[in-house]
């Protein structure tokens, strides 16, 4: 993997822009190691949190001797603990993602690289996974900026050749990642079995879930003509259509209903739904849309 290939995922301008951002979550999770995020636990940081009575066995180094001098009682100073955040970037690498100009998968790669960089920059634990990964082999977790190039290498190696349903892929992810954290699912959601089952797996996981729905303009507003035999690239299912104005109108209505359904499903269940399409520049999407929707700050 060359550095030039990685620069196609993250341009220098985008990197400078991402430097100032951080992943936001409404939930405070317990981290495994120290990080840059305040934890529920009190620990050893420089930020004072509270006092408590001394009990035998406490570390004498945290006794506030000034208070003892005034009140003649022992109090222990407590400090905020800072832990790391687990950021999961789950990418749909099915064959349907290999469509559009640019392809939806390349858009998803760029998006994952950007979010991953933000996580690394803030000391979060970043894990890049795809739906097709086995339930027993969790992906490599990346932490600190030094892991950036290796993380980008992992992202660049993702190929659109996975033949697994959305629900099965999410189930595998949940099984191999039982912990808490922020999950960003990047997918086109075009699964004939629907997205409901997949989302329900995520709900049970108590994760802060962001669903980024990536579609191409060819899917949103197809410019087709004539008598066509549409072949599904994933299961080779064929649909014969005669393109007409009413059919196109009906397709657009179906697409709109599909998007609205996914949004409603997510909103009702405390998940974040962020639609996008590949014509929106990744810089604009990251700094504008994700910032506005609360994933980045």
């Amino acid at each position: 993997m060359s550095q030039a290939a990685d620069s196609s995922l993250l341009s220098p301008e985008l990197l400078a822009q991402l430097e100032r951002l951080e992943i936001v979550t409404r939930k405070i999770f317990r981290g495994r190691t120290k990080g840059e995020r305040r934890s529920l636990r009190k620990g050893q940081s420089v930020e004072f949190a509270d006092f408590r009575n001394y009990v035998p066995g406490d570390d004498m180094r945290f006794v506030d001797w000034n208070t003892y001098a005034r009140l003649d009682r022992l109090f222990l100073k407590m400090f905020f603990e800072e832990e790391d955040l687990r950021l999961y970037l789950l990418i749909d690498a099915s064959r349907s993602m290999d469509f559009g100009t640019p392809t939806k998968l390349s858009y998803a790669r760029q998006l994952a690289a950007a979010l991953g960089f933000v996580g690394l920059a803030r000391g979060d634990r970043v894990r890049i996974e795809t739906l097709g990964q086995s339930a027993r082999r969790p992906g490599q977790a990346w932490r600190s900026r030094t892991s950036l190039w290796r993380m980008l290498g992992q992202i660049a190696a993702i190929e659109p050749n996975e033949a697994i349903s959305l629900a099965a892929g999410v189930k595998n992810f949940v099984l191999r990642n039982p912990g808490q954290g922020v999950l960003v699912l990047i997918s086109d959601l075009l699964d004939k079995q629907g997205y409901d089952a997949a989302f329900r797996y995520l709900l049970a996981q108590r994760m802060d879930v962001y669903v980024i729905h990536v579609l191409s303009p060819e899917e949103l507003d197809p410019e087709l003509q004539g008598d066509l035999k549409l072949i599904d690239c994933e299961d080779q299912d064929a649909v014969e259509i005669t393109v007409s104005a009413p059919l196109l109108k009906r397709y657009r209505q179906t697409m709109a209903a599909f998007i609205a359904g996914a949004k409603e499903f997510c909103t009702r269940r405390g998940m974040h739904y962020i639609p996008t399409n590949t014509t929106i520049p990744i810089e604009k999407f990251v700094s504008g849309y994700l910032n506005k929707r609360g994933l980045l700050r």
Binding site: D98, D227, K229, P246, F258
Partner: protein, 688 residues
């Protein structure tokens, strides 16, 4: 409705196989282009939504099939020659004679009779089938080809609208000759060359009257005519064209035979109850005793079915100067008179109000000119009675008497050529060349061979006098005797005035713009010894003086048109000294009139009634009045049912015949339209 089979059984079988083939091909369906998509998930849901048991949706899917089947069905109907029995205009060639004479300006049919005639013609043009031809001829006193034969209906409608109303009288004969010439281009009149082409240009001279018997018969038995295609045989003597005469019928019957090849149909316009009060005469005259007084006479005709009371107003130079009320009986006439004093030169206009439904004859104009003496030259060897009788006219006559040898003088020749006299009387002498004036020859004939005298006859007895002629008005020759006389043979067109048992003794005939009167029975005859003897006692009778006064009145006037009344369509002969004159019409239009080949100024574009002004170098030289003054034209009551064209009576009904109306052309056109629509939809289905 009926069908007419055009195809044989196997052809029908083949045609029936076409829709079956279309249906089969439709079910086999066209080869769809495969296209890989990310997912058929949403497409399948959309297609299923579209199939929600909607009949229209199903029909829409089969639209191309239906269009193709409709195309075949229309072709099959066209092959069946689907049609029905209808009626249509008879004849493949139609000649429309549109009357645009003065009477067609009547407004008894809104907006006018001419507009109604055009509407009827438009209906006929609309009924023309493809391939039919029609031509349009407008006629008043002369006919004009507005449009030669053509099948272009738009052009026919356009040219029909271009036909304009005129103020001219009506004559159908020339229009018939013109129509016959165009309808039978290969038929020629006796002695006339056949037309070289089927469609002569517009405005061509009318063709000579056709004579099928002469034209069809070979010159000799067994000898075929030079051009069989153009000479009709007796077998095709039927009508070649239908002649529609669209008129109010205000024209005299045509005496000549109806030209062959034309089937006339009379389409009448106008209402029988049309009312019109017309001024048909208006003139001014100065009494002999009072040259400064002007007596005006007008005659009004009422063609309506009821008595009509009208105000008749007299305008002098545009100012009302007199008026009277007159009642004109139904289908009768009335005379109105006015007297004006101290009138020397004026434009006088008479107006009848209300004038009825034809406006052009409600006004009449005449011009009052200063009293003018008639200049008379009497060349006689010495006839005191004749000189005295001419001099009795008093102030109206400026008489000069000369001997016959005066005719040889240069003074006479220059004066005679310049028109110095209004009337020249030659007694027992004749000039070398006729004068530029009216002339009376007594005992001699005018120079040239036009007139001739027979052998002298003793005691010719007067047996007839042309009393209606103005020269012989109130002349009674019952007690007049002639000792001798020579029978007179006037030139063609000459009018006998006195007829005797030996032949014509007195006649008058036209000579260019002048008239010559010849009295072959002398008043004085040369006798032995150079004396003159009396040959008749006529100078002793009152009738001699009356005849001379009539002669002065009739022939003694100047021969220009100023002061005279012309009819629309007439020709005015104008006086002028330069190379060109200008004529200003009542409407203000100025027309240049150059000198013609004979050195005369002829103004022939007289259309609207009124006073025309003749200008020379910007100043008024003379004026003349134009009036309709045509009782027949002013009688706007439409003619009774039929008109007679030669021996043919033409009724009012239009000729129609049963015909099968077929629709194969529109059906084929519709099939082509369906084919184009199907092709369009096939290629642009996204818009359906």
């Amino acid at each position: 409705m009926s069908f007419s089979n055009m195809l044989s059984a196997w052809q029908w079988g083949l045609l029936a196989a076409v829709p079956l083939g279309i249906v089969l091909l439709y079910f086999l369906k066209l080869r769809r282009q495969p296209l890989e998509t990310p997912s058929t998930y949403l497409w399948r849901r959309s297609v299923e939504d579209m199939r929600v048991n909607s009949i229209w949706q199903r029909l829409r899917r089969s639209l191309l099939l239906f269009l193709q089947l409709a195309f075949v069905a229309l072709v099959a109907l066209a092959a069946l020659r689907f049609g029905w029995n209808g009626s249509q205009l008879a004849g493949e060639r139609i000649v429309l004679l549109v009357d645009n004479s003065a009477s067609m300006g009547a407004v008894d049919v809104a907006p006018s009779r001419l507009a109604e005639a055009k509407r009827r013609c438009r209906e006929l043009i609309d009924q023309m089938r493809s391939g039919d031809q029609a031509m349009i001829i407008s006629f008043a006193d002369a006919a004009q080809v507005e449009q030669p034969f053509t099948d272009n209906r738009n052009e026919l409608r356009r040219r029909l609208e271009a036909v304009r109303q005129t103020s001219r009288p009506t004559s159908l004969a020339e229009a018939l000759r013109l129509a016959a010439g165009f309808a039978n281009p290969g038929v020629s009149a006796p002695g006339a060359a056949p037309r070289p082409a089927d469609a002569p240009p517009a405005g061509a001279s009318p063709a000579p009257e056709a004579n099928p018997s002469t034209a069809a018969a070979p010159a000799k038995p067994g000898e075929k005519p030079a051009d069989e295609a153009k000479v009709p045989s007796p077998a095709d003597a039927g009508p070649k064209a239908t002649l529609y005469i669209v008129s109010d019928g205000g024209f005299p019957d045509v005496a000549t035979a109806m030209p062959p090849g034309l089937a006339p149909v009379f389409l009448q316009v106008g209402k029988p109850e049309a009312e019109n009060l017309a001024i048909v005469a208006f003139s001014a005259k100065r009494p002999d005793a009072r040259p400064d007084r002007l007596e005006l006479f007008g005659r009004l005709d009422n063609c309506g079915p009821a008595d009509c009371a009208a105000e008749v107003e007299l305008y002098r130079d545009g100012s009302l100067c007199d008026a009277t009320r007159v009642t004109v009986k139904a289908r009768g006439s009335a005379v109105v008179t006015f007297e004006l004093d101290d009138v020397h030169e004026a434009t006088l206009e008479m107006v009848a109000r209300p004038g009825g439904e034809l406006a052009v004859d409600d006004h009449a104009w005449t011009l009052a000119r200063p009293a003018e003496q008639t200049r008379i030259l009497l060349v006689t060897p010495g006839d005191a009675a004749l000189e005295q009788a001419l001099a009795s006219a008093g102030e109206l006559v400026q008489l000069r008497t000369a001997k016959p040898d005066f005719l040889q003088s240069a003074g006479y020749r220059s004066a005679a050529e310049s028109g110095a006299w209004n009337l020249v009387v030659y007694e027992l002498c004749s000039p070398d060349a006729p004068p530029a004036a009216n002339a009376l020859y007594i005992g001699r004939t005018p120079p040239g061979d036009a007139w001739s005298l027979g052998a002298r006859v003793e005691n010719p007895q007067v047996i007839d006098v042309n009393a209606p002629h103005p020269i012989m008005s109130h002349v009674d020759l019952g007690n007049v005797l002639f000792a001798s006389g020579q029978p007179l043979k006037p030139p063609p067109g000459g009018i006998p005035l006195i007829d005797s048992n030996a032949g014509v003794l007195y006649a008058v005939a036209q000579r260019d713009a002048w008239r010559d009167a010849v009295l072959s029975a002398e008043i004085l005859t040369p006798a032995a010894g150079g004396t003159l003897e009396r040959n008749t006692d006529w100078p002793l009778r009152l009738s001699f003086v009356v005849m001379l006064r009539n002669l002065i009145e009739h022939l003694g006037k100047r021969q220009d048109t100023a002061g005279e009344t012309l009819a629309p369509g007439g020709v005015a002969l104008l006086d002028g000294t330069g190379e060109a004159l200008e004529v200003r019409s009542p409407g203000g239009a100025v027309t240049q009139v150059p000198r013609d080949r004979q050195g005369k100024f002829r103004f022939s574009t007289i259309e609207e009634p009124g006073v025309y002004e003749v200008l020379e170098q910007g100043s008024t030289r003379s004026r003349f009045a134009v009036n309709l003054f045509d009782s027949a034209e002013s009688n706007i009551r439409p003619r009774d049912a039929k008109i007679r064209l030669g021996g043919t009576e033409v009724g009012l009904e239009s000729r129609r015949e049963g015909v099968r109306r077929e629709t194969w052309k529109p059906l084929l056109l519709a099939a082509l339209g369906f084919l184009l629509l199907e092709w369009y939809i096939y290629n642009r289905r996204i818009y359906v």
